[in-house]
Point group: C2
C-alpha cells in the first residue's frame, strides 16, 4: 500500500531521527526522507535509538533541500507548533489523518513534514505545504512535543484508521458468555441457599437486596466456566456453614 | 480539575519515567505515582529526561505496592500489549478516553496503569484493573511502544477531548475571505485580458477552459488582499504583454 512519506527537514539530533523511525515502524510507515541532517548520514545514534526499525534507517533517502525531498509528493502536511503569519489552513491530527486516508485511497502521494527541533520550518518551507497540522498540547507548558513524540501522535492517528489492522475490542479466544439459563440456574441455587440460612431476615427487604446481588453477577458478564466455578463456590460455602451449624 | 492519575508499576529506566512525566505535562496531567521504581527515588535520569516537567517528577508519590498506589482510585485502566488469559474487557485508547472523560465529569477518580518495561503487569495486578487498553500497532514489528510513547498516545487522547482547550482550526488573526463580488470582479478583469490576447483560441473550448481556470482561484479561498494582489499581477502581465506585442 502507498503510505505517507515522513520528511524531516534539517533534523539535528540523531536520537530524534531514530525515535521517529521507531514510531514509524510501530505504526506501519516506512518511507523516511531526511533533508540535510545536521550531523551527516549515516548516524549511529539514529540507528541505536531506532530499536527494531533498522530497515527504516537503512533505507532512508537523503536530500540536500526540501523541494527535492518533495519531488513526487502531491499533498504535504507540515507540523507546526506555532501559527505563522501565512494564510494556511491549520488542522488537528484527527482531521489531517482522515484527509490523508482519503487521499491515499485515491492513490495520491502524501507527506508529513517536520522541521528542525529548535526552530521549526522556515516560512518559505511552510508555504510549500498544503496544510498545517497542530497537535493540541497544554499551552502553559514550556517544552513542546519533540520529534519522536509528534511522530507517535501522527503515526497512531494513521494506524488506528487502517481498515486491515486487527481490532482488540473482543479477546480472540474469549470463552462464550454464559447463557441466561445458566445464570438463572446459578441464581436459583444461590437463592435457595440464602433462604436456607435466612440471609434476608426481613421478607419485605428481600426483593431489593436480591436484585442488587444478582445485578453484581449480571454486570460481570460471566462465562460458562465462571458460572460453574461460582456454583461450586456457593455450594461449598453453604455446605460448610450447615456443617458448622450442626455442630 | 480532577485528572487521571498515572501509575507506573516497577518502572525500570529513569529515562522512561522522565519521558512519561514530559508527556503528562504536555497533555495537562500531573498526578504521577511510582510503585517500587527499580533504581530507587529520586532519580536524576528521570529529572533530566522530563525537560520542563520537573514539577511532576518532584511531586511524584512513591508506593511500595500496587494496591497502595490505587488506594483512592475508583476506576483503573491498565495498558497491556498482550491479551492475557483473563476475562477482562479490552478497549482502544479512543474508547477508553471517552469513558474516562465521562467518569471524570462525574467526579470519579481514574487511573492509567503501566507495567514494567520488559514484562508488563503480572496477572494478579491486571486483575485489579477494570479495563485493559491496547494501543493498536503493527503486529509485524518486534519493538512495541515504550512507556514514553504509550503515554504520548494516551495523553494526546486525553487532552484533545478537553473542552476548555484552545482549538486551532481557524487561524486567530485570519484576514477575512474575499467576497464573491471581489472574486467575480477579478474574474471579469482576467477574462477581458484573456479575450484580449485570444487566449482561448477556439470559442467552443472556452467554457471548459475558463471554468477550470476560475476553479483554481475559488479553491484557494482568497482573502481581500490576495485578490488585490492578483488583480495587480494580471494587469501588469497584460500591460507588459501588450507593450511587447506592439514592439
Amino acid at each position: 500500500m502507498n503510505t505517507p512519506a515522513i520528511i524531516l527537514v534539517r533534523p539535528q539530533m540523531g536520537e530524534n531521527i531514530g525515535a521517529v523511525a521507531r514510531a514509524m515502524s510501530n505504526f506501519g510507515l516506512s518511507d523516511l526522507r531526511l533533508v540535510a541532517p545536521r550531523d551527516g548520514w549515516p548516524n549511529e545514534k539514529a540507528r541505536d535509538m531506532a530499536a527494531g526499525a533498522h530497515h527504516i534507517i537503512d533505507n532512508a533517502q537523503i536530500f540536500s533541500d526540501f523541494p527535492a525531498a518533495m519531488h513526487d509528493i502531491e499533498i504535504a502536511f507540515a507540523t507546526s507548533a506555532r501559527l505563522r503569519d501565512l494564510e494556511k489552513r491549520v488542522v488537528e491530527p484527527t482531521e489531517a489523518m482522515q484527509e490523508i486516508h482519503a487521499m491515499v485511497a485515491d492513490g495520491r502521494h502524501c507527506a508529513l513534514v517536520f522541521g528542525p527541533e529548535r526552530t521549526g520550518l522556515e516560512n518559505d518551507e511552510i508555504v510549500l505545504a498544503d496544510t498545517l497540522i497542530t497537535i493540541p498540547t497544554d499551552a502553559a507548558v514550556n517544552a513542546s512535543l519533540n520529534l519522536g513524540q509528534s511522530m507517535v501522535v501522527l503515526g497512531y492517528e494513521w494506524f488506528r484508521r487502517l481498515e486491515a489492522r486487527p481490532h482488540f475490542n473482543v479477546p480472540e479466544q474469549s470463552a462464550a458468555l454464559a447463557s441466561k439459563e445458566e445464570l438463572h440456574g446459578m441464581f436459583s441455587q444461590l437463592e435457595d441457599y440464602l433462604d436456607g440460612i435466612n440471609y434476608f431476615r426481613v421478607d419485605a427487604k428481600k426483593p431489593v437486596m436480591w436484585r442488587n446481588l444478582q445485578n453484581i453477577f449480571v454486570r460481570s458478564r460471566l462465562n460458562t466456566q465462571e458460572v460453574r466455578s461460582l456454583r461450586g463456590l456457593f455450594r461449598d460455602l453453604y455446605l460448610r456453614r450447615k456443617t458448622t451449624a450442626e455442630e
